[in-house]
Symmetry: C2
Subunit: 242 residues, 2 copies
């Protein structure tokens, strides 16, 4: 009997250190909205997306590269940047062949942590590129760590739901001895008939925050599978379509 | 409209620092088996239970107080201690009026963290004393932090299920803006028809570990509500029946 690779789910960046990622594909999950927007920009032909962790860093790199700069703080385009975190800001006729320098807090932090911990392969996952992520993970036959970006280290529902969606599709091909993964799968199966209504009914903290900014349309898009089915993979400091 | 107190769930000791507990009742939850055993010993008349974090500390304090010493490491009574972590080791005719010095890793660590973070009231919770915990929390009209002891900082199903059981019973009396609490409630509602079968079906990591030691009976007891309905409350270094 061939040994299956293992799969674990880390539900907060503050727990990432508990997992050995030195031989794993790490999936960075920041459903609302960073990794959904990254998938969308690459799907629409962006040359690459460069994730940076600070607004000044974003401004500096954008200037150096002549790239588009984007990022939000507290629901508004951050001062000194040009665009926001909404996937709808990045249609093909705007973002095609461009470089996007994007600053996010939770997702970028987790991505850098995964790299620092020695992860050999880092990709980003979101509902818009769910199938691309699953196909890639199956093809690699390596251990997997599903890394939820969470919100300031607090557990959130939407990133865990995405982890559950991945496990629901490809979990049988992995050895799973991880209560967090089992929980994610349970949660996803409950939510799966209508992810948006689940988030609303559960009064998810991020649902509240974004609807407060009038972003229901963003939430619906970010919870819908395969609208931007591309694989963002991290190479030499950039996320590119794999 | 009177303001409801808040309720949060911390699913790992590594996330406790994210919550302000300086004005909260903190419930230490270590279902398999520390807090179930603490409730059982106090229910059966123990004078107090003193939680300590190391085997040498347990031996020293037991000698000083002429108390019963207990604790396990890797599923066996730790060297130098007298008894183990099973609630069935503490019937009334043995533990009545005695002091039990108990060393556990996950639960004791979390309890000390809560105290160090300034929690004014610390109690322990488990299914055997579920109703006593709920009654106390309602009576206090204070903020609540449900603190899961987890397993070496990793999320576990059983502690989260207990948090969900508390929220299911008394959540409506609290303001809950906490995705972890919503998740715990969802998980509990799914598991509630048969918590043991849920743990088994989910192949929970702790279920595996304890059944490997032949402890199915312990697991069933630790997942059954109100078999030892007492309130362990921390006062001056000791857990006593409140």
């Amino acid at each position: 009997m061939s040994q299956k690779p293992s799969l674990y789910t880390s539900i907060s960046p503050a727990l990432l250190h508990l997992y050995d990622v030195s031989d794993s594909v790490v999936v960075i999950i920041d459903v609302l909205r960073a990794t959904s927007t990254i998938a969308t920009a690459l799907y629409n032909g962006a040359a690459c997306v460069i994730p940076v962790d600070s607004v000044p860093g974003c401004i500096a790199l954008g200037k150096e590269l002549g790239a588009i700069t984007a990022g939000e703080r507290d629901g508004k385009v951050a001062e000194g940047l040009e665009y926001g975190n909404s996937p709808f800001e990045y249609p093909r006729d705007f973002i095609g062949d461009k470089t996007l320098v994007l600053t996010t807090t939770n997702g970028t932090k987790l991505l850098h942590m995964a790299l620092n911990n020695g992860a050999p392969i880092v990709i980003t996952g979101s509902f818009p590129n769910l199938d691309a992520v699953c196909t890639f993970l199956l093809s690699q036959k390596k251990n997997v760590l599903l890394g939820c970006a969470a919100w300031k280290d607090r557990f959130n529902l939407e990133d865990t739901l995405f982890a559950g969606a991945v496990i629901d599709r490809i979990g049988e091909h992995f050895h799973i001895n991880c209560d967090a993964s089992q929980m994610a799968l349970s949660l996803y199966k409950e939510a799966q008939p209508d992810l948006y209504e689940f988030m609303k009914a559960k009064n998810a903290s991020h649902y509240q925050r974004l609807t407060g900014f009038g972003l229901e349309k963003d939430i619906r898009y970010c919870l819908t599978p395969n609208g931007a089915n591309v694989l963002p993979i991290y190479r030499d400091g950039k996320l590119v379509a794999g």
